[in-house]
Every structure is written in structure tokens, then in C-alpha cells.
């Protein structure tokens, strides 16, 4: 491939990086954040502004961006997978969860 895609990862322990241009599935991307670097093959196409996992994330695990929790993984997410509302769920303000066993 050889093409360098523009991405950004905010903090070294984040689980996701953001695509700064549309990136097709199958593309190989390099993500660097401070002392950490990741070489990932994207399994999904990633639109501008959307996120992909830089590491494997377990179901139920907190997902970090900006070094902070942005939600929880609702299923296993592999490196290079699109991370969005289909596999990430916010934890706050969830009035719909009241009454459920916690």
C-alpha cells in the first residue's frame, strides 16, 4: 500500500485513534502517540472523524480516548475495527437503565 493515512491518537493509553481522512478497509495504518506506536490493518472502512481500535478490547471493558472513559465495549472489538455506537455504549445519564440489576 505504502500510503500514509492521517490519524490522531490523543493519549498513549487510549484504546482508539481517530481517522482524519476516509480510510478504506484493508488499509495498513501507523499510529504514533508519545512513546507508543501501532501498526494496524483496518478491518472496516473508517470515515473522517470516526474511530478505530488500536488494541483488542474485551466485552464490558472501558474504552479510553483523551485518556478518559468514553463508554464501554458491548462486544469483543479487534484492533482495526470501527468503534462506534454499534459496539460502544455510553455509561452516563442512562435513565433507561434504572430498575435493571446493577
Amino acid at each position: 500500500m505504502g500510503e500514509a493515512y492521517k490519524t490522531v491518537m490523543m493519549k498513549p493509553h487510549d484504546k482508539v485513534a481517530v481517522a482524519l481522512e476516509p480510510i478504506p478497509a484493508g488499509a495498513e495504518v501507523s499510529v504514533v502517540c508519545e512513546d507508543r506506536s501501532f501498526h494496524i490493518t483496518l478491518s472496516d472502512p473508517i470515515e473522517f472523524g470516526h474511530k478505530f481500535a488500536v488494541v483488542a478490547i474485551r466485552q464490558g471493558e472501558d474504552i479510553l480516548k483523551y485518556g478518559e472513559v468514553i463508554g464501554v465495549a458491548t462486544r469483543e472489538i479487534g484492533p482495526g475495527e470501527h468503534v462506534h455506537i454499534h459496539n460502544l455504549e455510553g455509561k452516563r445519564g442512562r435513565g433507561d437503565r434504572l430498575g435493571e440489576a446493577r
Binding site: E68, G71, E89, R92
Partner: protein, 391 residues
């Protein structure tokens, strides 16, 4: 007029010592029944502004007080030279009470009531006559050189995308710090969109009391969602936010909090309340763009910085709103609405610091009279955060 030095602007000194960046005559309808007549006065008399709303009657308790504070704050804002308060007559929010509050600033205020003046046509004639005289008096006022320590700048993000937290919001954070360092005030708002980022702001609170308030207002906002038994995600992030790449409220919040820069949090104020401290101040508002904009302007903000990734026309009748694009594509697509492009940060051609610096100079220009796109397009939005039902 000479370009002011950095950290200075040309403003209008008001009788209470505060400084306006605009010189409007406001036709202020205290009840929805008077909004049409108010709009007609603005069509007759150049130099006047007004706003449409649906409130002013059958309100009680804290909801009444919040609406009252919003009306009075709009009139008291130093961007307003004088006010014609236009009432119907029988409403809960009496025009005379609102006028009395505004009169404390020493600016010209007069009351017209549709019922007392014999109906719509005579009230419009009476209001227009008073307004015309005020506009003429306002027109001879000269701008004078003022310091940024006299500025209250509101910050806001609306139509956010994944770039908001990477480009425009951090750049606004740089401006916020510069304004605070020059002795001015920067308002952070949007309590809903700080859920999940509150701990970062509480750490920066000047004392325990302010830190405690941070958690209290966040809890109150989160409890509203619990009380309604709704998933807050059905409203926030919005469908446009989600399309832009934001997945959760927490993610949106962490991006939004960047607008607050890095200076200490001095106080937490109620909706439409005027800050009592200089520096970084948090106003408790909802995430709704128009409602938070109205709250900050009613609280005395003379200028508003508004970042957007999806593009929005939002403006205020009395405060210039500087619109900042988070990415270059939306700036190119909506240049009619957007003043400044921070997408250069995403493009890699400009640093966050450099855009912040550029924005700071834009604030000085706009405060000195440069019109924003929202002003040119007469985007006069107004909306009150209602916290109780109407009876």
C-alpha cells in the same frame, strides 16, 4: 478607527461602568402575546432589535425567576443602549417589574403595554416613537478604548463532530486562557455536555465549595434523565454528532471541556446569572445551543465564541457570535455562516496555539465593531431554559 493594541478594543461605556461592544436599542417583549408587535417596531425603526419567544405567563417559582432573570439580563446586557419593554398587560411577567430591574443599570428604559395603549396599532406607534428617540440618542455615542478585563466572553460548541475536541475547542481553550490572563471573564456552559468530564474541572476549582458545586450541578442534570427514565443518548449526542463520529455523551463532553482552557475555575453560576468573579466561570445551562447562548448573553456576555463541526447559523440579537469551524470541509461548505476556520489544525498547517492567537485578535476586532456572519444574516435566536411546567 485605529486597530487597538492586543488585549484592547473599542467599546461603548454604559452608565453602570460596564462596556458594550454593540449599541442596540432592544424592544423586549415580556410575553409571547407582545412578540409580533415588538417585531413590527423593529421593522419600522432602524437600529432596534428584538426576539421571538413563547413565554412570560402562567409560570411559577424557580421557573418564573429564571425566565424573569433572562428577560432582565437581556435588557441589562451592556451591548444594549436602551430598552422599550413591551408587555400585553395581564401577564405574569409584568413589563414594569422587568423594566425596574433593567433600570438599575442606569440605561434608558420605558414601558409600553398593548392593553393600556389601546391595542396593537397604538402600542406599536408608541413603542416606535420611543425607540426612534433612543436610537438617535444612541447614534451620537462614541466608542472608547477599553481593556479585555471588561469583557465577558461566552464559549459554546454546537453541531459537534469528532474534530471539535481536536481543533476548534482546544483553540477556544487557548483564547479562554488569554482572556483570563488579560483580566477578563470566560464562561463555560453546557452542563449536559460536561457529564463525564466533571472530575477534570472539579480538580481546577479554586476551592472545595466550587468543586462540590461542580458535582452537584452535574448530578442534577444526570438526575433529570433518570427522573424521565430516558436514555440521554436519544437526544445527546445528536444524530448529526453521531454521523460526525461521536459515539457517547462522555466522548462529546471530553471534547467540549477543552473550551475551558487550563485556568482555575472561579465560580459556578446559575442560568442567566451575571458572573461575580473574573476568570473562568461555569454557567449551569443545558446543552441546547439556543438556550445556553441566551443564558450566557443574559448573564452579560458581550461576545460569544461558537465552535461547530456540522455547521450552524446560530446567532443572538444583541451579542456577536463568532462561528469557528472544526474542519476545513465544513468551513468551505458553510462560509456564509462561519467566521473562522480552525480546520487548519486537522490539516496540519497551523498549530492550536496559532489558531487561538488568531481567534483572540478576532475577538478584539469583533468587539470593536467588525460584524460577524450571524449578525450580517440577522440570525436573532433566543430560547429560555424552562425548568418547570406552565400552569
Amino acid at each position: 478607527m485605529a486597530k487597538p493594541d492586543s488585549g484592547k478594543f473599542w467599546g461603548y461605556r454604559r452608565p453602570d461602568g460596564r462596556v458594550g461592544v454593540r449599541n442596540h436599542v432592544l424592544i423586549l417583549p415580556t410575553i409571547t402575546c407582545a412578540t409580533q408587535a415588538a417585531r413590527q417596531i423593529t421593522e419600522l425603526v432602524q437600529g432596534t432589535v428584538s426576539f421571538i419567544h413563547q413565554h412570560g405567563c402562567a409560570q411559577v417559582g424557580v421557573d418564573y425567576e429564571q425566565t424573569f432573570r433572562t428577560y432582565a439580563g437581556m435588557g441589562a446586557n451592556p451591548n444594549v443602549y436602551g430598552v422599550v419593554v413591551l408587555g400585553l398587560g395581564c401577564e405574569t411577567h409584568q413589563a414594569r417589574s422587568v423594566a425596574g430591574e433593567i433600570a438599575k443599570t442606569g440605561k434608558p428604559v420605558e414601558v409600553v403595554s398593548i392593553q393600556d395603549h389601546g391595542g396593537t396599532l397604538l402600542a406599536i406607534a408608541q413603542g416606535a416613537k420611543i425607540a426612534a428617540r433612543m436610537v438617535q440618542d444612541a447614534s451620537i455615542l462614541q466608542r472608547e478604548l477599553c481593556d479585555f478585563s471588561e469583557l465577558i466572553v461566552g464559549t459554546e460548541c454546537g453541531g459537534s463532530d469528532a474534530c471539535s475536541g481536536l481543533s476548534a475547542n482546544p483553540a477556544v481553550g487557548v483564547v479562554s486562557d488569554l482572556i483570563v490572563d488579560h483580566g477578563g471573564t470566560s464562561i463555560l456552559a453546557e452542563t449536559t455536555e460536561l457529564i463525564g468530564a466533571e472530575h477534570l474541572l472539579a480538580e481546577r476549582a479554586v476551592d472545595e465549595k466550587v468543586a462540590k458545586r461542580v458535582y452537584e450541578v452535574i448530578k442534577a442534570m444526570e438526575d433529570r434523565a433518570f427522573l424521565m427514565g430516558v436514555d440521554i443518548r436519544t437526544g445527546n449526542p445528536s444524530p448529526g454528532n453521531i454521523k460526525g463520529g461521536l459515539s457517547s455523551l462522555e466522548e462529546k463532553s471530553l471534547g467540549a471541556a477543552n473550551k475551558a482552557g487550563s485556568r482555575p475555575l472561579q465560580e459556578l453560576i446559575d442560568y442567566a446569572q451575571t458572573p461575580s468573579k473574573k476568570g473562568l466561570v461555569w454557567m449551569d445551562t443545558p446543552g441546547h445551543d439556543i438556550e445556553q447562548l441566551t443564558g450566557m448573553v443574559a448573564g452579560g456576555a458581550q461576545v460569544v465564541l461558537f465552535t461547530t463541526g456540522r455547521g450552524t447559523p446560530t446567532g443572538s440579537p444583541i451579542a456577536p457570535v463568532i462561528k469557528i469551524a472544526t474542519n476545513s470541509a465544513i468551513f468551505a461548505k458553510m462560509e456564509d455562516n462561519i467566521d473562522v476556520n480552525a480546520g487548519t489544525i486537522i490539516d496540519g498547517t497551523e498549530s492550536i496555539q496559532a489558531v487561538g492567537r488568531r481567534l483572540f485578535e478576532e475577538v478584539a476586532q469583533v468587539a470593536s465593531g467588525k460584524l460577524t456572519k450571524a449578525e450580517i444574516l440577522k440570525q436573532h435566536d433566543f430560547g429560555i431554559w424552562r425548568i418547570g411546567p406552565t400552569f
